[in-house]
């Protein structure tokens, strides 16, 4: 077996993609099943993907992905579309800056880690720490998500991160949240699609949950707030977006949503004593 290519250094001209990548009219197809080395090492796959991006491809289709990590990290072309068939590994689309990634399968942990802008659409489940510290863009998950999802998301100016979850989210949803919107729909689930400690330490942003949220499920710093007209408009718009991405028809039962918002944008004012001793 040929050792997996481990390209390092930007000037290094490798032959990654020789067997598995075809490019036709600016559309690249990378079929990992055609590679001699299976499973392909993540450094090789990322090298091939970067090569396709450098060629200016408008779309990149990945077939047979088997847990390769860090796919499309820091990808920065706004018009680029990346389709992933199979199961991408951790940190899919980390630091993403513009492109759209669509996963026809499940994603693993830390999808959209610290993403800046762009869209990540997951047709299955996306697991723990999805959307960590996202600063913009949209992550849509048709199925369920794991623990500590959407934590420390923050917004600034026009950048407003959004996380839509069709199924459920486990504990610590939106922990440390500083901005942006999380919407959990709980489709096909029981009365409460979220776990405990929702919005622990949140000091910005908003979490909408379709279903019920009991007080004991809220983390410190989070509180249930009344829904206003602007919130209902935002939910409707996000549901349209969700239906558009997945071809679903989510019921528009807007009276069944709970809004969770921070108790304060300054959770630590009054916590410290600045006396000079």
């Amino acid at each position: 077996m040929r050792p997996a290519c481990k390209p390092k250094g930007h000037s290094h001209e490798c032959d990654c993609g020789r067997e598995c990548m075809t490019v036709h009219e600016g559309r690249a197809i990378i079929d990992l099943n055609l590679s001699e080395v299976r499973p392909m090492h993540y450094t090789t796959l990322n090298c091939v993907v970067r090569k396709a991006m450098r060629m200016g491809c408008s779309s990149i289709e990945l077939k047979g992905v088997m847990g390769q990590r860090y796919l499309a990290s820091t990808a920065s072309s706004a018009g680029l579309y990346i389709a992933v068939h199979g199961t991408p590994g951790n940190d899919l689309g980390a630091f993403l800056n513009g492109p759209t990634i669509e996963v026809f399968g499940n994603a693993q942990d830390m999808t959209g880690n610290t993403m800046n802008s762009g869209r990540i659409i997951v047709h299955g489940n996306a697991w723990d720490v999805t959307g960590l510290a996202a600063r913009g863009g949209t992550i849509m998950v048709k199925g369920d998500t794991g623990y500590r999802v959407g934590i420390h998301m923050k917004e600034y100016g026009q950048a407003h991160p959004t996380l839509l979850v069709g199924g459920t989210a486990k504990d610590y949803l939106g922990e440390y949240m500083a901005g942006g919107t999380i919407l959990v729909l709980g489709l096909g689930n029981g009365p409460s699609p979220v776990g405990r400690n929702v919005g622990a330490g949140m000091h910005g942003g908003r979490i909408f949950v379709r279903g019920s949220v009991a007080r004991h499920q809220l983390g410190p710093g989070a509180s249930i707030s009344p829904m206003n007209e602007q919130d209902r408009e935002e939910i409707s718009r996000l549901l349209d977006e969700f239906d558009g991405a997945f071809g679903t028809v989510v019921p528009r039962d807007l009276e069944d949503y709970v809004k969770i918002a921070p108790s304060s944008s300054r959770p630590f004012s009054g916590y410290y004593d600045k006396t000079s001793v």
Partner: protein, 511 residues
């Protein structure tokens, strides 16, 4: 899980002053410059003369700007009944907290009286059998490289090949870098001065975790950008154009603690660079929530390497804690190209006093522990070890190198060069020297050109002193000093310390 603490009822109790400015009225010209310079409003003009108004912190600004040279700051003598155990400070702390119910905040490094171990180390010098070198007439090399080393040379067809397919090494003209001080903890002009000085000295300066102001992209090739738990301001420009990227796990002044920039300091400029709304608290979570293990850390290192296409060294900074050797070994195995160990006397813009003064490990011991552990495991020659946290002089720097650091990280010394008097009020945001503040009227007091020139002067002098010592030791390149603990002797009160640092006691000779 308890609800966050809401401020309790304030129960005021006046504490005695700590410092009082004394004015020699025979010399005072009543120009009132001191009143306008004092950002703590500790001086006021009243009934035709300038008088103390309380709250003096001994920042020394009034003294430096008094044209008549008529001010001196006096510490207030003890005001409480003497007691051997109940120091005045411990009682002040209790009285303050009984008033506020708050966590005592502090800044700069630990200011208690733990003696620096550096002061108990003596350097060796060459005599007779290993002649010394005059650095003014013979070359003494201080160039240092930051990054992962190949570990060995390859010989192919009789030629020596230095493998360069790993991440590149960053060349620095001296074994010194500026620590991570964020825009937010210090003002624009202060950070600009640090970056200008780093460029001039051809060393590396840390960005801190506050993102990078667009004006500073021109210094990017000398900046090590920081990825900390708050992930503030991380965008492609922040990762790609810089010299290196460093993941911050911990800081010596507050090991295990996160960061908290209070909303008052989140001005429009800070909000733009951190990419958060103006006036909100900027919180850095205590841990990185994607890192709960060495394997998780390896993923963040790898994703940063993928994101930067292996063009940059990726390092990890940890606070010196009791198990630092094993953790350092994990960092190297996780793929860190350099690691930074920050000792417990390291500085901060704001940290709970209880952590600043009581948690962590002295950097001297931490360096020796890391160097020894990595050497035992055959990893030491692969990475650059940086260390900081209380480096006050070239002597401290030289001793840190001899204990096993490749690069010394300094921050407080650079700020003192700019004007800082270490009055430990950074967390109040009122810095009269225009360094640790965001108030425009105060930051404008600092001229970045002047401040940068002073920093350059200081560290050029340190580098000359390093060469003097290297020459006196008969060593012609700083690399030969790194980890050379045989050139150190311990003369302190605790021989066990010498043993854990693997340094001989004074009086013990070679072999």
């Amino acid at each position: 899980m308890s609800e966050p603490k809401t401020p309790g009822k304030r129960m005021e109790h006046r504490l005695p002053e700590r410092f009082v400015p004394r004015i020699d009225y025979d010399l005072c010209r009543v120009c009132k410059r001191c009143v306008s310079e004092c950002s703590y409003q500790a001086l006021e003009f009243k009934e035709s003369k300038v008088v103390p108004a309380g709250g003096c912190v001994a920042c020394g600004r009034c003294i430096a700007f008094c044209p008549a040279n008529c001010i001196e700051i006096r510490p207030v003598p003890p005001q409480f009944a003497p007691h051997g155990n109940w120091s005045e400070r411990s009682r002040r702390a209790i009285l303050a907290q009984a008033s506020s119910g708050g966590v005592l905040l502090s800044s700069c490094g630990a200011d208690d009286t733990h003696p620096a171990i550096f002061d108990d180390l003596l350097l060796d010098a060459a005599q007779v059998t290993n002649p010394s070198i005059d650095p003014l007439r013979e070359p003494v090399e201080t160039v240092t490289y930051l990054g992962r080393r190949p570990g060995k040379l390859e010989v192919r067809d009789g030629n020596i090949i230095i493998r360069e397919d790993d991440t590149p090494l960053i060349r620095m003209d001296m074994p010194l870098m500026f620590g991570h001080i964020s825009l937010g903890s210090i003002g624009y002009n202060a950070q600009k001065a640090l970056f200008m000085a780093a460029k001039e000295l051809n060393i590396v300066a840390g960005s801190g975790e506050g993102g990078l102001h667009p004006d500073f992209y021109s210094y990017a090739d000398r900046i090590c950008s920081e990825v900390a738990s708050g992930r503030f301001g991380i965008k492609p420009e922040y990762l790609k154009g810089v010299a290196a990227v460093e993941i911050k796990i911990g800081q010596g002044a507050k090991p295990g603690h996160g960061g908290h920039l209070p909303g008052e300091k989140v001005t429009t400029m800070i909000s733009e660079t951190r990419m958060i709304p103006r006036g909100t608290d900027a919180l850095s979570p205590y841990p990185h929530h994607d890192i709960y293990s060495i394997e998780d850390l390896a993923q963040l290192i790898s994703v940063l390497k993928e994101s930067t296409e292996y063009r940059l060294p990726v390092g990890v900074k940890i606070a010196a804690v009791h198990n630092v050797g094993a953790i350092a070994s994990g960092l190297v195995r996780a793929g860190a190209d350099f690691l930074t160990v920050d000792g417990f006397k390291g500085g901060t813009g704001a940290a709970p006093r209880v952590i600043r003064d009581h948690a962590g490990l002295p950097v001297e011991v931490a360096i020796a522990a890391v160097d020894r552990r990595l050497t035992q495991e055959g990893l030491r020659n692969r990475v650059t070890v940086c260390a900081g946290g209380g480096i006050r002089s070239s002597a401290d720097m030289i001793k840190a190198l001899a204990l096993g650091a490749d690069v010394v990280m300094v921050s407080t010394a650079a700020m003192v060069a700019m004007g800082c008097r270490v009055c430990q009020q950074c967390h109040r945001g009122l810095c009269s020297w225009g360094i640790a503040t965001q108030r425009d009227d105060l930051t404008s007091r600092l001229d970045p050109e002047v401040a940068a020139a002073r920093i350059v002067n200081l560290f050029q002098a340190w580098n000359e002193e390093l060469k003097e010592v290297l020459g006196a030791m008969g060593i012609d390149a700083v690399e030969s000093l790194v980890g050379n603990r045989d050139r150190l002797r311990y003369r302190g009160p605790n021989p066990k310390l010498a043993e854990v640092m693997n340094v001989k006691h004074i009086g013990e000779g070679w072999g």
